[in-house]
Amino acid sequence: MEASTVAKIAGPGLDKKTLLNFLHQMLLIRKFEDKSGELYARGKIAGFLHLYNGQEASAVGAISTLAEHDLLITHYRDHGYAIARGLDLNRCMAELLGKATGIVKGHGGSMHFFDVSLGMLGGWAIVAGHLPLAVGLGLASNYLGKQQVVLCVFGDGATNNGYFHEALNMAKLWKVPVVFLCENNLYGMGTAVHRASATLEMSRKAAPHGIPAQRVDGMDVLAVREATTKAVEHARRGDGPFFLEVLTYRFRGHSMADPILYRDKAEVEEWKQRDPIVIFRQRLEKEGLLSPQEMEQIERETDELVVEAVRFAEESPDPPLTDLYKDIYADP
């Protein structure tokens, strides 16, 4: 019986199916990213491509706590969040290839995934620029009595920007239901966090604004989930914003254009020992929740999904030239 085996690994609400789904999602993100990197190297994907490898536990753990009507707004490294939120994988890949069937019709590319039907409101590519937007979304939620929690994701680099402090200050003043989720992956582009931030604990930056904060191990999907659950509950109760610092690491460069000259290979290898997918898989196996057959099935399913996404994207048409002038203005 499943219920008895679950108790050891996590709290209530986490049955085996959910746990295996976390593994499935993390693996799907990893494979989507690896394939995207490959397609970029082959010249099929252009622009900036910021891969999410290493940070999968953050997106999967955090998104799993959101209700259907909640909102999500993220930075430019957005594929992981989009996939965890359930955006159509085929249309995401088509977007990377700049096709008409892309999730935003080929108008946005990698950094601007968006699907209003799933409350995924971007994909924003100006560092820290979307934090005030989250405050506005939270204001609208309160004003309209929607009880929507807004999960706002950004990196450690964003916390050094003025918009960060303006947003946190206003969030607290207006008591908006925003969970600020800072993914501290130790580098803002190529600048190590200690060279850009006067404090090394991003979570301390919430204190001057009177916002409760917590640091969490971002390589552990269940730890992220647990912390985000509390943060979301706090916001949903009407207690205002919450700040989470997720300690994580990106295994690849800032973008595909990054030669990664600024960090030791040893450091990367050390973090790869803490690969969130490997760790979680081992844990599930140890707890007897994942058989070799089940793992094989997850591998196969995720492979197939990515293969299908690439096929769909490659077979999709380019946007028609008439699209160039579309969607500049909405009808009055």
Binding site: V116, P132, G136, L139, A140, N169, I328, A330
Partner: protein, 328 residues
């Protein structure tokens, strides 16, 4: 029709739109107890409460972004940024975000937000508080930029701006708030993107907007005394730009002078002159002249500031030069 000030007209527009649509709310700097730096939001909190009229910190980036986010969340915010000079701090939200949402996200969502602000010089506030930066925003596809010259226009255009589903910059002029004029009572709207012939004439077209439309009208009166009948076109909206009204007028008068408070280089006059040249070249009997602000940061001293901003005298002079030069 009642005669009220430009400031009152704006206040009435806000009041009517807030009454009509509960999703309309106002937030910005000192809009509650203070009533807005220029008094436009005066008294609104008494009628609509502090949930719908909210003060913000002096944090334009935060205000701008929150306004965009609130619009994305289903509201129709009117954000007051006090002055266009401070809008520079909110320009990330306005230019990078508000203008792009509809297009960059594949048409899934538009951003019905109005950014209200004061622009222009003439009040001896020195260079950082006297700027006409509307060109900066009018340059950007995805934004609408509205610049009313009269109380009636201020009311009708602001009501339309609030109902518009696009991001609109509503730029009021610092020296117009006390100007009085007839304003129709009750429901009336002026469409965005439509210029108006404010004075008919046969000899030359003066193209202007905001306070310079009034300056152009004054110049036209003076020119009339000397036998030149100028037609005055008030653009009212800088983006989208209504060239048809301008071209129709120029095809009739065969001459044009543009009048703007902004700096000449890359200014509105440059755009208008170029478009006339492209589309009505054959109708022109003379080169198009531009009357514009002097290309300096605006000084504080009264005489220097006055020398930097166009007035009716300079417009009259420019028009006369044009007639002398072309031998009419």
């Amino acid at each position: 029709m009642p005669i009220i000030t430009y400031r009152e007209a704006l206040n009435h527009a806000l009041r009517e739109e807030m009454t009509r649509d509960e999703r309309v709310l106002i937030f910005g700097e000192d809009v509650v107890a203070y009533g807005g730096a220029y008094g436009v939001t005066s008294g609104l909190v008494n009628d609509f409460g502090d949930k719908r009229v909210m003060d913000t910190p002096i944090a334009e980036g935060g205000i701008g972004g929150a306004a965009v986010g609130a619009a994305m969340g289903g509201l129709r915010p009117v954000a007051e940024l006090m002055t266009i000079n401070f809008a520079l701090l909110a320009s990330d939200a306005i230019i990078n975000h508000a203008a792009k949402v509809l297009h960059m996200f594949g048409g899934q969502m538009s951003v019905p937000v109005v950014f209200r602000m004061t622009g222009g010089g003439g009040a001896q506030l020195a260079s950082t508080h006297s700027q006409s930066l509307e060109v900066l925003f009018a340059h950007v596809p995805g934004l609408k930029v509205v610049t009313p010259a009269t109380p009636a226009d201020a009311k009708g255009l602001l009501k339309s701006a609030i109902r518009d589903n696009n991001p609109v910059l509503f730029i009021e002029h610092a020296l117009l708030y006390r100007v009085r004029g007839e304003v129709p009572e009750g429901e009336y709207l002026i469409p965005l993107g439509q210029a108006e012939v404010k004075r008919e004439g046969k000899d030359i077209t003066l193209v202007a907007y905001s306070r310079m439309a009034l300056v152009a009208l004054e110049a036209a009166d003076r020119l009339s005394q000397e036998g030149i009948e100028a037609e005055v076109v008030d653009l009212k909206t800088l983006r989208p730009l209504d060239m048809e009204t301008v071209l129709t007028s120029v095809r009739k008068t065969n001459r044009a002078v543009t009048v703007e408070e902004t700096w000449r280089t890359y200014g509105i006059g440059a755009e208008i002159a170029s478009r006339i040249q492209e589309e009505a070249f054959d109708y022109l009997d003379a080169p198009i002249h531009r009357v514009a602000g002097v290309e300096v940061p605006l000084p504080y001293a009264k005489n220097l500031e006055q020398a930097a901003i166009p007035d009716a005298g300079r417009v009259v002079e420019a028009v006369k030069q044009l007639f002398v030069r072309t031998g009419v």
